[in-house]
Amino acid sequence: MVKIKLSEETKEELKKLREEIAELKEQLNNVTGKEERRHHGIYIDVGNNVRNYVEDVMESDTEAIHGELEKCVFIGPRGVRIIRGKPIEEEKEAEVNFTKMSEVMSALGQEHRLKVLEALVSGGKYINELQEKLSEITASTLSSHLKILEEAGLVVQEKVRGRYLITMPGRIAYNMALRITKFLERGNQE
């Protein structure tokens, strides 16, 4: 293990991070934890035995989630070490999926689809809300754009409420397109 001397500023940041992680863990306990569930979590009063059953069912998963958190957040040489993403070796070994890449790029390569993503960045929207924002296109065109975005994994639709949400990859892709555009615009100005 490599020992690194930390600056006061870094130590302070680590302290804050530890506190935030502790807070998140507490919130996890509140959602699924055994002790707090009766007061804050989902609690259906159907008698002790069924309650115990539900607790038994959930307990193993709660422990597994805690385990994942412990594994990813509390290891490494700096006391609090966060493993961000896959190790570089794994990334190198992974083959580039050009088909998927072109599908994503193709989904991004249309002005109205980019406008849909832009509208979803601020939060989930129902189809009528999207239609208001993209009044220059018809409802069927909007639906077909949404379908393309969904197939590319950039947008997901809630089946119950019907809202459309931008996914994590969708947000990354949109930000990437935005950055490239700004970079090129800046280049042209210079």
């Binding site: 994942e68 966060i82 089946k159 949400l165």
Partner: protein
């Protein structure tokens, strides 16, 4: 017809119309007209039903974070018998006695065949849950749904108001107001109103504020 303290009623009922057994912000369970049902009772109290119906289950097991949404909705056809425990008042008024045609439509030769199937299901649930006795409280407004899955276990859905717990073979989803936990074989997401932790393939990927 007794599973420890549970009792399956001797009457086989059918839905007189399509029913929404669950309709919340994140979940819907619908069954078609003519769905078969056997009441589960404890003394004279209604505790739930064993249903055999065609229907669908929709769940929005999606976590919204400031970095984008993670997960996808569950959309499943229901075609096998399942259990519902909890507040049955809304359902009671939409059931009437089933006839032979209704049984045949679901593949049963006679009443006893469905009774046996329902009894097996209830016993399986009771044994897996190590339940020897339960009694619903008068003011209970929650539901437990148990759907047998391909691994011989139960996909469990617990719902109370907008709160929801769903545990299937490859997914655990817990939603309690603004706090959500989603665990799949590859991802674990813990999200509250302000913060989210995302762990993908055992590696921490995001912590957003």
């Amino acid at each position: 017809m007794i599973t420890q303290n549970y009792r399956l009623d001797n009457t086989i009922l059918k839905a007189t119309e399509a029913l929404k057994l669950l309709h919340s912000e994140k979940g819907i369970i619908e069954i078609d007209k003519d769905a078969l049902a056997i009441p589960i009772k404890l003394d004279n109290e209604q505790e739930g039903y064993v249903f055999h119906a065609h229907g669908k289950l929709l769940l929005d097991t999606i976590v919204e974070t400031r970095e984008g949404a993670i997960g996808e909705s569950v959309e499943k056809e229901i075609d096998e018998p399942f259990l519902m425990l909890g507040d049955t008042k809304d359902v009671e008024g939409h059931l009437s006695e089933a006839n032979k045609e209704n049984l045949t439509a679901r593949g049963y030769e006679n009443e006893q065949a469905f009774m046996d199937k329902a009894k097996d299901l209830l016993e399986q649930f009771a044994n897996k849950g190590r339940v020897s006795h339960f009694h619903c409280c008068d003011n209970m407004h929650g539901f437990i749904f148990a759907f047998p899955n391909e691994a011989g276990k139960f996909d469990l859905l617990i719902a109370r108001g907008s709160n929801l717990v769903y545990k299937a073979l490859n997914k655990v989803f817990v939603s309690n107001k603004n706090r959500v936990v989603l665990k799949t074989p590859n991802e674990t997401i813990v999200s509250s109103e302000r913060k989210s932790i995302v762990i993908k393939n055992g590696h921490f990927t995001k912590c957003c504020h």
